[in-house]
Subunit: 337 residues, 2 copies
DNA sequence: CTGAAAGCGCTTACAG
DNA sequence: CTGAAAGCGCTTACAG
């Protein structure tokens, strides 16, 4: 910048004004053009770090993924999520950093991200039902938006309506005549999404006057393998279910495998419905009936929201809940046929 | 920091030395401990932006993904790649930024990332065979490592041995008795990976004394849908192939669908082998024979490499090529049986 | 219409 | 063993 000023024969102040196109500060059009030309000729690029220091902003947002290595690598939606996030962030001049915070790690490594001014705000994925750290972060005034709801309605979050999605899935099964319906969750019930999907399952049963049987409820743990043992347990029940609602397509993969391993067929012997609508679901045999999760939209909303928070705009509503959509394919069938 | 210095009754210099634990600069152990305690009590966190300005480093690396929105969102390996990258980067104190550079966008948005000192270096994915921009970037001295090989041996890159992987796949088909073997690539042949996999295909055929038939060669375009039409074209040939090597499992999904739509069966009527070993491959019907791509390892190597480049370390070899592994499942069978 | 000066929060020669 | 001072590259009141 010093060089540009020298070459154009003006002060650094003038260069700053010209480059940033400050409206009030008048600079004659002639010198403005001259400065711009010199800057271009010198291939000048402003130093972001210096700018950050004076503005106090980094224009950077961190996506913190709280998963283990294995869960992280197997996340089918991370790329969609990131894509949506960037669609919202980049036009506003924000950049996206990805930060892994393995859940069993001690202390919140991500809190330091904003304390040390590496990023302006945090997007936190996979929240737990009860998470004092997030509460603390938010109460400290740290700009955060959660990717996934919690039970704290004042903390900004975006998620799909998990209860609704699960209810719709289970109602579909009930409409097909099933009464004995098992559930394998996507993750332990300490995760909000699992918890809400379980609630949706219970509600659909209750609404139909079906008594919930706790032996029919198991939990997965994000991965495909984690669906195998729970499914076997369900199959080995004295009175096995005729249909299963699995809270994640990925977990359903393992469950389907378990069913096959027992020589049972889907949907003939057992109906299976998943959740998420992973891209390969339609290529499975049979194509998997599921509940669509709009991952890119989720990212877009979360991105738009953190921008508002960072600008200090009032949020119309701190929590946004996106609708899901039932995708009926061929892994579910009517009991009566 | 000023507050810490005041509270501890020392200069900011002393605080800086104590906090950074500078060895040569002696500070009495007593005052060191005092300073550390005060810093803790005041919940002091250093301002990274200020540090960056003086050191001239950002400790940040950008992963630039040169794909369209759709290709990006469908990238099955992005999360694995990122996981590997972070495993290498975080212990070294580097952070990872993700930047989308859609291929048809005008100008290199990512060049500015390092010019404006937002990041120290670039990890560039999905390189083309011929890319003057990357050449330019490297010649300017921009620290880059490519994720995927190019034909420029002096530019640091990490990739799997695509030629070798493709050869092994096709040799497997030949060993099963196939002579008329089709190929559908993962992407247009302007991408290095596609190009090299095609070369591997050709080499395996040539080694077996089989004449390549150009009508048997088609190209996909990253997505599952892009495998459909090429497969149909293959099937509609007067003399269709008995086996097909598809350069990507994702593209193979569409190809398998096309085969099904024609009422043909895999592997009975046609053997299919993919590339990448996407996690769901083993859950397909039939489970997909494929070539394993070690995505996390790729990320780890790329991450380790950019760290070396940034440190100015000499690279033992600018290009690293990781081995692939044939995964035989049930989508390929012997012709003679 | 334009420039000199202070300041953002650090590090690091340099002098005591 | 410790501190005063300069400097990293910008922006922005403030004064002319």
């Amino acid at each position: 910048m010093r060089d540009v000023a020298a070459a154009a024969g003006v002060s650094r102040t003038a260069v700053s004004f010209a480059l940033n196109n400050i409206p009030n500060r008048n600079i004659s059009e002639a010198t403005r053009q001259r400065i711009l030309k010199v800057a271009r000729d010198l291939d000048y690029a402003p130093n972001t770090q210096a700018l950050n220091l004076v503005t106090g902003k980094t224009m950077m947002v961190a996506l913190v993924v709280r998963k283990t290595t294995q869960q992280f690598a197997g996340d089918a939606f991370l790329s969609e999520m990131i894509e949506g996030l960037m669609q919202a962030l980049e036009p506003e001049g924000y950049h996206l950093m990805v930060h892994a915070a393995h859940p069993n790690a001690s202390g919140s490594t991500y809190r330091d991200l904003v304390r040390t001014r590496k990023v302006d705000g945090l997007l936190i994925s996979s929240p737990m039902v009860h998470d004092p750290e997030i509460r603390l972060l938010h109460d400290e005034g740290t700009p955060i938006v959660l990717n996934g709801a919690t039970d704290e309605p004042d903390i900004p979050s975006v998620d799909v309506d998990n209860r609704q999605g699960a209810s719709v899935a289970v109602r579909h099964l009930i409409a097909l005549g099933h009464r004995r319906i098992g559930h394998i969750s996507n993750a332990p019930f300490t995760y909000t999404a699992s918890c809400h999907r379980l609630e949706g399952y219970r509600k659909a049963l209750a609404d139909a006057g079906i008594l919930a049987d706790e032996r029919l409820i198991h939990h997965g743990d994000f991965t495909d393998e984690s669906g195998y043992a729970p499914m076997l347990a369900l199959l080995d029940l004295p009175e096995p279910p005729t249909a299963v609602f699995v809270g994640s397509d990925t977990v359903a993969l393992g469950a389907l495998d378990a069913i096959r391993s027992r020589g049972r067929r889907v949907p003939d012997d057992l109906s299976v419905i998943g959740f998420d609508n992973i891209p390969v679901g339609k290529y499975l045999t049979p194509p998997l009936t599921t509940v669509h999760l709009p991952a890119i939209d989720l990212g877009r909303h979360a991105g738009a929201m953190i921008v508002q928070v960072l600008r200090g705009d009032l949020l119309p509503s701190p929590t946004v809940s996106l609708p899901t959509r039932l995708i009926v394919r061929e892994s579910t069938r009517s009991l009566s046929e």
